[in-house]
């Protein structure tokens, strides 16, 4: 929530502008410290935003994490957007998000430029091929981590298996699967409730106040 301060006066306008710059700069500094992205960023955000800047209370962090995790997009970027929005409205959200994205953007461009420059060297080519193996391992690890809180019962297990099967054999655009997953979830819960079945919709342990360092999402 924006804090509802009057932003009309010249003085407030100046304060607002300074806050926007602060938001940008804070997230600009947090951005590059998070190799692996996502949840790895959260403890650092917490330290900066709660302990140093006092922009948020400690008990708001759990809420922040669950909101950042359920919206589309990377958790780190989402967390920046939420904090920016709370502090300084839409402009705050925009400046925090630009701040958190800028450093990675520049680093990615740099890496890519180097890769294109040295692409034809056999050693670089070999290294990239080797990294393919590393990426496979990282993806499997990500799948395992995600499965731990998404596979809650038989229905969710079947959904995951069916998704893989459809992708492998039907060549359907993955977008449709996401949309149908969303609809199925709502439908299944409705039906199960009507039948009087108890459904556990979330794993409680995961949304604790201090999530373990998760690099993979």
């Amino acid at each position: 929530m924006p804090d509802g301060k009057d932003k009309g006066g010249i003085k407030n306008l100046k304060e607002h502008f300074i806050l926007l710059i602060q938001l940008f700069w804070t997230f600009f500094c947090i951005g590059p410290s998070t190799f692996g992205g996502g949840y790895a960023m959260l403890p650092i955000i917490e330290r900066e935003v709660v302990n140093k800047k006092k922009w948020m209370q400690e008990d708001e962090i759990g809420e922040l994490i669950s909101l950042a995790g359920s919206a589309p997009g990377g958790v780190g970027v989402n967390a920046a957007a939420i904090i920016g929005h709370r502090k300084a409205g839409i402009a705050g959200a925009v400046s925090a998000v630009i701040g958190v994205t800028c450093p990675t953007f520049l680093i990615v461009i740099l890496i890519s430029a180097f890769a294109i420059l040295f692409r034809n060297y056999p050693k670089v080519e070999a290294a990239l091929k080797g990294m393919n193996g590393g990426i496979i391992a990282l993806i499997i690890m990500a799948a395992y981590r995600t499965a731990r809180y998404s596979i809650l019962d038989t229905t969710t297990a079947i959904t995951a298996i069916a998704t893989v099967a459809v992708l492998l054999f039907a060549g359907i655009h993955p977008l449709y699967l996401i949309v149908s997953g969303l609809i199925c979830g709502i439908a299944v819960i409705r039906i199960k409730k009507r039948l009087g079945l108890q459904v556990k919709m979330e794993k409680e342990a995961v949304t604790g106040n201090h999530p373990e360092l998760e690099y993979y999402i």
């Binding site: 929530m1 590059p32 998070t34 692996g36 992205g37 909101l67 359920s70 589309p72 997009g73 990377g74 958790v75 780190g76 970027v77 957007a81 929005h85 994205t101 990675t104 953007f105 990615v108 890519s112 890769a115 070999a126 290294a127 091929k129 080797g130 990294m131 393919n132 193996g133 590393g134 990426i135 496979i136 990282l138 993806i139 499997i140 690890m141 799948a143 995600t146 499965a147 998404s150 596979i151 809650l152 969710t156 995951a160 998704t163 492998l168 655009h173 993955p174 977008l175 699967l177 996401i178 997953g181 199925c184 979830g185 709502i186 439908a187 819960i189 919709m201 979330e202 993979y216 999402i217």
Partner: protein, 176 residues
């Protein structure tokens, strides 16, 4: 071209629930269908995206944009990827106290999360699969071997992803 990239990543960004690795198949589907990158080029792109800090999905968007349409391509792709989550966040953030225990939200996530898991598993299979016309060869076996060792290191010693990628790259230089 820029507009196509932007709209494509708006679409991807809108459904990037669970962030990161789950959107890799979606981006791959889009770029190979449009003929912007080959499957092999895309896999290289993801390997590079993993080396930079930040979300692998956003990084992949930046790289795909850069390789297809230079700096401006990179900028519009990244913006497209981030814009939907920014809008959703602002809307959700404004409504959050009412949404917190919303059963609609929870039950849609109940169905969405296993699909996300399936997408990630598919991405792993796709990266480990050598392609239709390629038989079993040394590069493929060695890639799987590197993958297996990396996975072991991740599970057993919880090594940092960047270390894993560097080690895999070094192994590639030795093996290939």
């Amino acid at each position: 071209m820029y507009w196509d990239l932007f709209m494509m990543f708006i679409r991807v960004g809108l459904v990037s629930f669970g962030g990161g690795y789950a959107v890799i198949p979606i981006i791959q589907h889009e770029v190979t269908e449009k003929g912007w990158l080959t499957s092999a080029e895309f896999q290289q792109t993801v390997a590079l995206a993993g080396m930079a800090p930040g979300s692998i999905a956003t990084n992949a968007a930046t790289l795909v944009g850069y390789r297809t349409a230079g700096y401006i391509g990179a900028a519009v792709s990244t913006a497209g990827m981030i814009l939907p989550s920014l809008v959703v966040i602002v809307v959700l953030s404004a409504l959050f106290y009412r949404l917190n225990d919303n059963s609609w939200l929870k039950s849609s996530l109940y169905g969405l999360r296993p699909v996300t898991t399936g997408l990630i598993i598919y991405a792993a299979i796709h990266f480990g699969y050598p392609g239709e016309n390629v038989g079993i060869n040394w590069v493929w076996i060695a890639t799987l071997l590197i993958g297996g060792v990396c996975l072991f290191l991740l599970f057993k010693y919880k090594l940092h992803p960047l270390l894993i990628l560097i080690a895999a790259g070094a192994a590639g230089i030795i093996l290939f």
